[in-house]
């Protein structure tokens, strides 16, 4: 007689006494096709896409804030990504490619995360009532994450489409003109707050969700989360101010491109 686990047996406490008990999957594993592995993959992908976006966010912030060092520094960073140092001449297409990839990642992440949104008004109301009753930090944070995520879907898409369609318009003057003369600064301001809050909370939840630090570290993780958001919001505000300032002083010549000093000198000679 072959031994196998008897899934069809009644529970040891006797047959169900509950009239509307959830259907028992008691006869499934061997005879029925096994459960799809996709929920596991989608869960992994949701975390992974979020992590990649957060890493991109950090790198992106580092690059754009070079304007705080000098215009030339930002100019060099912008040219670096056009690949002239490698390919002999600049290809703004490369920037388009990166922007498209990030846009695709954003869409994927949004779609995966949206599965967790309240489905319908009843669930929406149930969650709000629950959140207001419980006064529980991590539960309320999720609500903030949901709304900032919702905003980001639109704000980040607009910004990415801008970069994707006009990749050559990145540089000290071109960017500053977009921010000020192009009237984009309110969008960037809102985008900055949403993205840094969402990213900070997301990274925190990633660590908690996968249990990377045990359960004694939550207070410290929260501290790190605040530090993350505060640091990047401050850096972002300073950066945005720098572009606004530059954009205002450059408003009269809006559209004119930045030419680095060395090149400008050789041009006048």
């Amino acid at each position: 007689m072959s031994h196998s686990i008897d899934y069809t047996a009644n529970p040891p406490m006797g047959p169900s006494v509950i009239p509307d008990a959830p259907a028992l999957p008691t006869n499934n594993p061997i005879s029925l096709p096994r459960k799809s592995r996709w929920p596991a993959r989608l869960d992994l992908l949701q975390s992974l896409s979020g992590l990649l976006l957060a890493l991109f966010l950090i790198a992106h912030m580092a690059f754009v804030s070079t304007i705080l060092i000098s215009q030339a520094a930002f100019y060099n960073v912008a040219r670096f990504f056009e690949g002239a140092w490698l390919l002999g001449r600049p290809y703004p297409m490369l920037v388009s490619l990166v922007a498209s990839a990030i846009l695709a990642l954003l869409m994927l992440h949004a779609w995966l995360a949206m599965r967790k949104f309240p489905a319908g008004f009843r669930q929406y109301r149930a969650f709000i009532a629950h959140k207001n009753r419980l006064h529980h930090g991590d539960t309320s944070l999720w609500w903030l994450q949901l709304w900032t995520g919702f905003l980001l879907f639109f704000l980040a898409s607009i910004h990415l489409y801008d970069m994707l369609s006009q990749p050559e318009l990145i540089g000290p003057y071109a960017s500053a003109d977009r921010v000020w003369s192009g009237g984009m600064w309110p969008l960037y301001l809102l985008l900055l707050f949403s993205v840094e809050l969402h990213g900070g909370i997301g990274l925190y939840r990633l660590l908690v969700k996968w249990g990377l630090f045990g359960d004694k570290t939550r207070a410290r993780l929260h501290l790190a989360r605040h530090a993350f958001s505060a640091f990047f919001i401050t850096l972002g505000l300073l950066t945005l101010l720098a572009y606004i300032d530059l954009g205002r002083s450059h408003a009269a010549q809006a559209g004119e491109r930045y030419i680095p000093k060395a090149a400008a000198q050789t041009a006048t000679h």
Binding site: H3, S4, I5, D6, Y7, P11, P12, M13, S16, V17, I18, A21, P22, A23, L24, P25, T26, N28, P29, R34, K35, S36, R37, W38, P39, A40, R41, L42, D43, L44, R115, K116, P118, A119, Q123, A126, F127, A129, H130, K131, R133, L134, H135, H136, D138, T139, W142, R205, V208, K209, W210, G211, G214, D215, R218
Partner: protein
């Protein structure tokens, strides 16, 4: 008696006057509508909500419904919302609360009346759904000596077995409020418990059949309400994260 070691209450200190606002509703009554009713009592030394509710029932309103068995945090029947947070009434001291206390039944579970909910029915249903009992290939023989278990392992299993099925974790779970088919922390903790047990011969593939979807471990959004309210201080965060890692790994195959 040594006066030093006696706890003196100053003669001037009057006991606090507590107001308990209790959500009353009897679904068996026709045309009944839920409403809050306020009861006032004097606070006593070391008073728990269990004592307060019994006093109200004995002296003010014999129709007040609530559940108690052990009054020592062991049976899990007295969970309710205390100022909006799930807690065991028998383990909640009134001195830790303000003089205005709001009590309501646990959400999510079927209401029996006033503060009494049928957690048992849901727990039983979840046990059947998640098959929370030992699945052994070999039939158990009473004539053979049991295989010994390392004390550390027995301890670890016992730690997870401390769950009293009070339902606080479900009432504190945002996911469960939105999706009533979610197994919740109590269900996931039980799976973690049987997964540890060497007498249970189910593999991770078998467990995946039970919790490998969005009504199982992947539905959890790590809001940790469960972890923060569990009156037995079970490390639900660790258990859920552990299961998530094990189940997610199967997705890579």
């Amino acid at each position: 008696m040594i006066p030093l070691f006696r706890h003196h209450t100053k003669a001037s200190s009057q006991p606090r006057r507590l107001t308990l606002k209790i959500l009353r509703y009897n679904p068996a009554e026709l045309n009944a509508a839920p409403s809050f009713q306020a009861f006032e009592i004097d606070e006593a030394d070391g008073m728990t909500l269990f004592i307060a509710l019994n006093e109200i029932r004995a002296t003010q309103d014999p129709s007040l419904q609530f559940d108690f068995v052990c009054r020592a945090g062991i049976c899990g029947s007295c969970a309710m919302l205390v100022d909006g947070r799930p807690a065991l009434a028998c383990r909640t001291l009134t001195r830790d609360l303000s003089a205005q206390i709001t009590l309501a039944p646990l959400p999510f579970f079927e209401l029996i009346g006033d503060l009494s909910v049928n957690t048992g029915k849901w727990m039983r249903g979840t046990s059947e759904r998640l098959q929370t009992w030992i699945h052994a290939v070999e039939p158990v023989s009473a004539d053979i000596l049991e295989t010994p278990m390392a004390p550390e392992l027995a301890e670890a299993i016992y730690e997870l077995d401390r769950c009293i099925e009070c339902g606080c974790c479900i009432a504190a779970c945002g996911t469960a409020q939105m999706r009533p088919d979610f197994v919740g922390a109590v269900g996931l903790n039980k799976i973690a418990r049987f997964r540890l047990d060497p007498r249970d011969q189910r593999s991770d593939d078998d467990f995946y059949e039970l919790i490998g979807d969005d009504s199982g471990v992947f539905g959890c959004m790590s809001l940790l309400g469960c972890h923060d309210v569990c009156p037995k201080q079970l490390s639900l965060q660790t258990q859920i994260a552990f299961l998530r890692r094990k189940m997610a790994r199967l997705g890579l195959n």
